[in-house]
């Protein structure tokens, strides 16, 4: 893993150098190295874009895909319930997994959102989520297990099928072709975030 990380870093430096890109200077002149990146304490700086199945995922370090196993993992106590509800239809539901809350989830006034995954077709699941008080619209994001973006949705409802509309299996449209993850953000009338789920795993 260490060798791979070094290779990636070197490659990036070469590309940056050959591209004639200069280093970025900050307004305060501060700098940090990746190894000291977590300025803030706790898990909030390390799980923001990482797969939910492994809080200590090595994805960002190795550049390799995260473990896609749906096996339950443990993490720090979570004020949010990003797990799949027990009533979820089995084929599209991964076993409960928790991840530490990130900065959005810890903001004052941001309520936890619980996402439930259901549907007969595991590749095109239906997502349903709880509505925080004062929420008027939502954004849903679907990624594959490594965090690569797959699909997103915005709207006022609290349920949507992957792809936005039910379709027959032979009709083309967004579909999961492997394990993934979903997350919902809730917004108030003024557009501010009033709720957030964690990344909820999806199994196919």
């Amino acid at each position: 893993m260490i060798a791979r990380r070094t290779l990636i870093a070197v490659t990036a430096v070469i590309v940056a150098s050959t591209s004639g890109l200069a280093a970025c200077g900050g307004s305060d002149g501060s700098s940090a190295s990746p190894s000291s990146a977590p300025v803030a304490t706790g898990a909030s700086t390390s799980v923001a874009a990482e797969p939910p199945t492994s809080v200590t995922s090595v994805t960002s370090e190795t550049g390799e895909s995260a473990p896609t196993s749906a096996a339950p993992t443990t993490a720090a106590p979570d004020t949010v319930a990003p797990t799949v509800a027990p009533t979820t239809v089995a084929p599209t539901t991964a076993p409960p997994t928790t991840a530490a809350p990130d900065a959005l989830q810890q903001l004052p006034g941001v309520e936890p959102v619980t996402v439930t995954v259901s549907g007969a077709d595991p590749s095109r699941p239906t997502f349903t989520w709880t509505a925080p008080a004062n929420a008027v619209d939502y954004q849903l994001v679907v990624q594959d297990a490594s965090g690569t973006p797959l699909w997103a949705w915005t709207g006022t409802g609290t349920s949507v099928v992957l792809g936005g509309a039910e379709r027959a299996p032979e009709v083309e449209g967004p579909a999961l072709t492997g394990p993934g993850q979903v997350r919902v953000f809730a917004f108030g009338a003024d557009g501010a975030v009033v709720g957030s789920s964690g990344w909820t795993p999806l199994a196919v």
Binding site: I8, A12, L21, F185
Partner: protein
Amino acid sequence: MPPRRDVCTMLAMQRTKRTSSVVTGLLLTAGFVAVGLPAGDAGANAPVKSLRDGNWSGTMAIGATADFSRGNVGLIASGSGNGRFSLLLTGGVASGDFRLDATGSSNLEASGANGQATAAGVIVGELQGTSVIPILTPQAAHFDVSGSVTVNGFNQPFNVPVDAGPEELTQSNLVITSSSCTFASGTWAQEMKAAVQAAGANVTSFRGSWAARFTGAGPAAPDDALTNLLNRGEAVLTRWIADGTFDEAEMESVLVESEQYAVSSGTNDACPGGEKGTWSSPLAGMVERLLTAIANSPTTTAEILRFGVAAGMRTGVLPSIDSPLESTLQAKAVEVYNAAFDANDTFSIQMILISALSLQWTELAQAATEALQP
């Protein structure tokens, strides 16, 4: 807030089909260390940019011509109208015809004179080229250019008919944003050389998006639903560029209706290369134009960027594969983030964080996360 974290974007890098290598390059002044390089497959929906053999029924929507370069703030000319094309691909060779009914308006400004001009008319021509680059080859155009110009306080109306032949009209490409077994879409631009310029107007080009539906062996047929969707989407974009009003609700309606339209419009069971998860939105070209504007406009807000990112993912335009679009969007996100940080604008930082989480812009997400720490 903690001190602002340096985040800059390696603009030269972009996702590729195999490496998914949009790098949020945190190039550090001390050591040129880049981190956060995701790898792996870029997803099942890496866009195909060629059209399969058979008949395609297409529609073109005319939108805004914008320029954000060299200090320009956006709208050069507003456009409206639409066109249709019938495209047949045989062994990868394109043939067919098109008709574009277009109206374009712009302000005229010259030393000592100003005014406004509108060009309304029609361009007809043939489709040539290949499955990768279909080419619009205009054969004839007629436009009525009308308006008024004020010189030294005197207003002079004008109305000039313009007829142009092939020599005064340039070929242009139907640029493919994405395609699948059932749908294809992209962008186009039609320049009109000196013909209209000679008439005194600078309404010299039309730009917009196009979408097409595969009709197989059957003939292409007008698709009013698709035309309506494209026109409404382009109208939202034009208005935003023109006066700064971004009608999120209308754009969302267009997105919803396009999904319903796509569900009702065909299957991929006749496509030999069709794979599950491979798809194309008929709005991909229109959304690409929207995202290009978002990535370049000085009026882009964190909220508009968040909405645009979601629309891009919703239509398969994002993550962008083999295209600089995502990296320019990321650069805009960094710019907006930095401004939000300096202004202690927590709301905007939240919006940027959501965009960064959505597209796995890891370093920007981490910086925004840190900025939101109490």
